[in-house]
């Protein structure tokens, strides 16, 4: 970067460019658009069964699968790991496969009328036995969720390194943990929603929807409807949080575009919270058994993992449902050095809501698993958990992992030491002992982990994905008045990317961020790109912004060199001015823009008109890292857990805007604490969702989240051109393990463990009731 640190814009906590509209109630969200027609979906009340009949009163406009014969099912593809492609019809055809599956769509003039009409639609379903639990779905003779998927195993990966068998055989001791992470819902505050408007002049449809991936949405909807992409425009306006739930294609959006074309008007659907909780994508729901072989010094020498991921009834587009089990297989060893590795990971179909990526994707669960193993080992060796980690964390870089991942330079040990420095472990242990004597149970929990970010094309290709969303393109233009527009394919929705990209560009071309408008979320206005997910946008769109800005810079310096009769190499762009270094000769940057458009005659045909550049960035990928520490109190009488303190020391490379980075980590940690303690989608034995309101599914409030203390290392990464790594998911990845480890430390005197998330009061009480020891 041309200007680094406090002298430039990068590294400063400037206020967000996004905020003035949002703070005044002038944001534009999907549900704010007026529409001629409102759509309500009739959803299955049975988890499994055959649709015998659908009937509606006269005068109600009802769309069913019978009307959609030309619409293809959603059928994402993966080319490895015995993946069996399955299709999800936009509206259920003859069978239903989960409670909440859309069976019919009702169209009316208002939402209230649409809801009344939907209530009047009668769906006759002959119910069948439902599979809710993934291990039950693996049993011999279990019914099949999709007939083409034998044994309900839709994807299966297996790996065993050549070193595994000997390492395991030679281990001093073998330790096992069996962990379970129950089902969650990402719960963005704005539920999903779409608005499709037909334009009679052009025949095109504009789909405005609450999505993280507008371009891929256009591709998918056009493919499914058999349209050229040019007939569709997709807009992601202000999006009220996504966290992954909005990066997968909802069948509802396909139907909206189909309806807008058929009615030649505008149609809108606003998902309500109940629909979101039962039928928007779910997440987690993994069962992992780990066995670690340790040598006599506490060094992990072999690791064996068995992963069962409940993927629900269908496979999500674009990643496919394989993302959870396969990421578990690839990244289970985490930041620990181990050569002997064996893993079997499978994705299992059940009659439940389909799964999709949710912030952290698999890693909150695998970090939970391996961090439980590490603490089990620490106890077995009579060591502090931090000491056991010191003996196992990767310290030499680049490090080629047992699963062939290349770990670039990171600070696994250093962030742990930094966290411990701010905790005072000895003081805590003394306090813990004193409080135990008084019948109060405090515990401390650590988790050390990596966060793979900035996945490029090869990283996705390695998984065998049909669509490899690795790159981003950024177009930057300066208009004749000197204002800058950066059009990006990424699609931020709360991450502050308009601000951070403007900071990166500003340092390169010498204008203030407020003069740079970052345009995103409109397929008519932005270059093709994949969107915002997987901690990728600042890394990849940021890298592309830097590359494009360098080209703009080159052009501006060339123009200035011409006009100031100096070499382009001697031109400095700073504070809105181009000047010849070491002289007082200068020109305002906007005058360079004017000249590039209006006075081309001054350049002897050596300058192309205008200022518009474009660049693409496709990095190899990198790993951020952090150490989280939780201190909790467990009330053994009620099972209630109070998080007293939470601290994180992290390293995500160069920090572009410290305020925004802290905000990302805070939010991630809150979601991680909620994963550990509160949030669970509960099904009954028949496949009905029991947690269909926010009074039952429990996102945390300000009362449940303690003050979060953050510390940063800023190792300048060689792996990305901005030196920045991603930071969007780390909080969510590390926090659950830290909290559960802290709970287990607190209840250690009872001689029992809890290895299930969320660790609700009921589960903690159940574990304590079963305890044989009384402290």
């Amino acid at each position: 970067m041309s200007v680094a640190g406090p002298t430039g814009w990068v590294g400063r906590s400037i206020r967000r460019l996004e905020d003035p509209a949002l703070i005044a109630g002038r944001g534009r969200f999907t549900a704010d658009l007026p529409a001629m027609h409102r759509v309500r979906f009739v959803r299955s009340q049975h988890a499994a069964g055959r649709i015998a009949n659908i009937s509606a009163p006269d005068g109600v406009m009802v769309i069913t699968a019978a009307d959609l014969k030309d619409v293809k099912p959603i059928r994402p593809m993966l080319h490895k790991f015995d993946y069996v492609p399955i299709g999800q019809p936009v509206l259920a055809t003859d069978r239903v496969r989960f409670v909440g599956e859309a069976i019919a769509a009702v169209v009316a003039a208002s939402e209230a009328e649409a809801e009344d009409a939907a209530d009047a639609v009668e769906v006759d379903i002959t119910p069948a036995d439902a599979l809710i639990d993934a291990r039950a779905a693996l049993a011999d003779g279990a019914p099949l969720v999709h007939e083409e998927v034998r044994g309900n195993v839709i994807v299966k990966g297996a790996v065993e390194t050549p070193e595994f068998a000997a390492a395991r055989a030679g281990a001093d001791r073998l330790l096992r943990v069996d962990v379970r992470s129950r089902r969650q819902n990402a719960t963005p505050l704005e539920p999903r929603g779409g608005h499709a408007a037909f334009d009679p002049a052009s025949g095109r449809v504009t789909l405005t929807c609450s999505t993280q991936m507008p371009h891929l949405t256009r591709t998918a909807v056009a493919d499914l409807l058999g349209l050229p992409e040019a007939e569709l425009r997709v807009i992601a306006p202000d999006v009220g949080g996504g966290f992954g739930q909005k990066m997968s294609l909802p069948p509802e959006y396909v139907l909206l575009v189909w309806l807008a074309r058929r009615l030649q008007g505008s149609v809108a659907w606003s998902e309500d919270r109940r629909e979101n909780l039962i039928a928007a994508f779910h997440s987690r729901d993994q069962h992992i058994t780990l066995e670690g072989g340790f040598d006599r010094d506490g060094k992990l020498v072999s690791l064996s993992a068995d992963v069962t991921a409940n993927i629900g009834a269908y496979s999500c587009f674009p990643t496919t449902c394989a993302v959870e089990p396969l990421m578990a297989m690839a990244e289970m060893p985490g930041p620990y050095d181990v050569r002997g590795y064996r893993c079997t990971a499978r994705g299992v179909l059940t009659h439940t809501c389909p799964m999709a990526p949710y912030r952290g994707v698999s890693r909150p669960v695998i970090t939970f698993a391996i961090e439980r193993l590490m603490n089990r080992a620490a106890a077995s060796f009579g060591m502090e958990p931090s000491e056991l980690r010191r003996r196992n964390l990767i310290t030499r870089f680049p490090y080629k992992s047992a699963t062939d991942l290349t770990f670039d330079e990171a600070t696994y040990v250093e962030t742990m030491e930094l966290a411990l420095k701010h905790i005072d472990l000895a003081e805590f242990r003394a306090r813990q002992k004193a409080e135990r004597a008084r019948g109060r149970y405090l515990g401390i929990g650590l988790s050390t982990f990596s966060e793979r970010t900035g996945y490029g094309t090869p990283a996705f290709a390695q998984r065998g994905m049909e669509i490899t969303p690795g790159w981003e393109t950024v177009e930057i233009s300066m208009d004749p008045s000197g204002f800058v527009e950066a059009r990006i394919g990424a699609s931020p929705h709360g991450q502050g990317l308009r601000t951070t990209l403007a900071q990166i560009i500003a340092d390169e071309i010498g204008v203030e961020p407020r003069m740079i408008r970052v345009v995103h979320g409109d397929t008519d206005r932005t270059p093709y790109g994949f969107g915002t997910f997987a901690s990728r946008s600042l890394v990849i769109a940021g890298g592309a912004s830097l590359l494009a800005a360098r080209k703009v810079r080159a052009k501006l310096t060339k123009i200035a060199g011409y006009l100031l009769e100096a070499s382009a190499d001697d031109i400095v762009l700073e504070a809105g001015v181009a000047k010849v270094a070491g002289t007082d000769r200068s020109l305002p940057i906007e005058s360079l823009a004017r000249a590039a458009y209006h006075q081309l005659h001054r350049f002897n045909r050596e300058i192309a008109p205008g200022i518009a550049e474009s660049a693409t960035y496709d990095p190899p990928g990198t790993f951020s890292n952090a150490c989280h520490v939780a201190i909790v109190e467990v009330d053994p009488e009620t099972g209630r857990v109070t998080v007293e303190k939470f601290l994180a020391a992290e390293d995500a490379g160069r920090i572009i805007n410290p305020m925004i980075v802290d905000g990302q980590i805070h939010g991630g940690i809150a979601q991680g604490i909620a994963n550990a303690l509160l949030e669970e989608i509960v099904y009954d034995a028949t496949g009905n969702v029991l947690t269909s309101t926010l009074a039952d599914f429990l996102p945390p409030t300000a009362r449940e989240i303690p003050p979060i203390e953050l510390h940063h290392l800023e190792t300048m990464s060689e792996a990305t051109i901005t030196r920045a790594k991603g930071v969007g998911e780390g909080g969510t990845i590390g926090a659950p393990a830290a909290v559960i480890n802290a709970i287990n430390d607190a209840i250690a005197p009872f001689g029992v463990e809890i290895n299930e998330m969320p660790a609700t009061p009921q589960r903690i009480r159940a574990v304590l009731r079963a305890a044989e020891k009384r402290p």
């Binding site: 703070i23 005044a24 944001g27 963005p188 202000d238 009220g240 502050g496 805070h666 939010g667 009362r703």
Partner: protein, 159 residues
């Protein structure tokens, strides 16, 4: 449905004469009949607080109140917080302390806190956290919302 009723919604000092079904919620009337879409709908069952507005100076969940119940009463929404281009102390504090990310819950938090601070300017810090626990935010982990509110409280008390 039963017939529509004529009511007057007095929002941010302006009267909107609207016809609503008795079952129409206040938030739907504010958004669709008055065209003020700054107030958001997050759950429609009174938990998340995204739809919080002030009615008669008190914070209410506008998804749990019928529009007819607010007939003639003074209503304030996020659009009425700033005086022209001059943001309120609380709005400025949210921007300075990064109290918002996606911005969807923000109008509800702003109205909740504005209402509480007007009625209880000397509210204690612990009670303030209890008040903030009325609404849900999914992005910030509440850290910077709390920071922003504390800063606003200090500034308001210094005035």
């Amino acid at each position: 449905m039963s017939g529509k009723r004529d009511i007057v919604l007095s929002v941010n000092g302006r009267d909107y004469k609207v016809q609503v079904e008795p079952r129409r919620t206040l938030v739907d009337a504010i958004r669709e009949d008055c065209g003020l879409t700054g107030t958001h709908i997050g759950c429609e069952h009174g938990v998340c607080g995204a739809c919080t507005v002030l009615v008669d100076g008190a914070p209410v969940r506008s998804c749990l109140m019928f529009a007819v119940q607010a007939d003639g009463k003074p209503i304030r929404t996020v659009e009425g917080l700033a005086a022209g281009d001059e943001l309120s102390v609380l709005q400025r504090a949210f921007m300075e302390h990064h109290g918002l990310q996606c911005g969807f819950c923000t109008p509800g938090f702003l109205m909740l806190i504005t209402g509480v601070l007007e009625r209880e300017p000397d509210i204690g810090d612990e009670e303030l956290i209890d008040v903030l626990a009325s609404n849900l935010c999914r992005c910030t982990g509440y850290q910077n919302i709390i920071k922003a509110v504390r800063a606003a409280v200090q500034e308001l008390r210094a005035k």
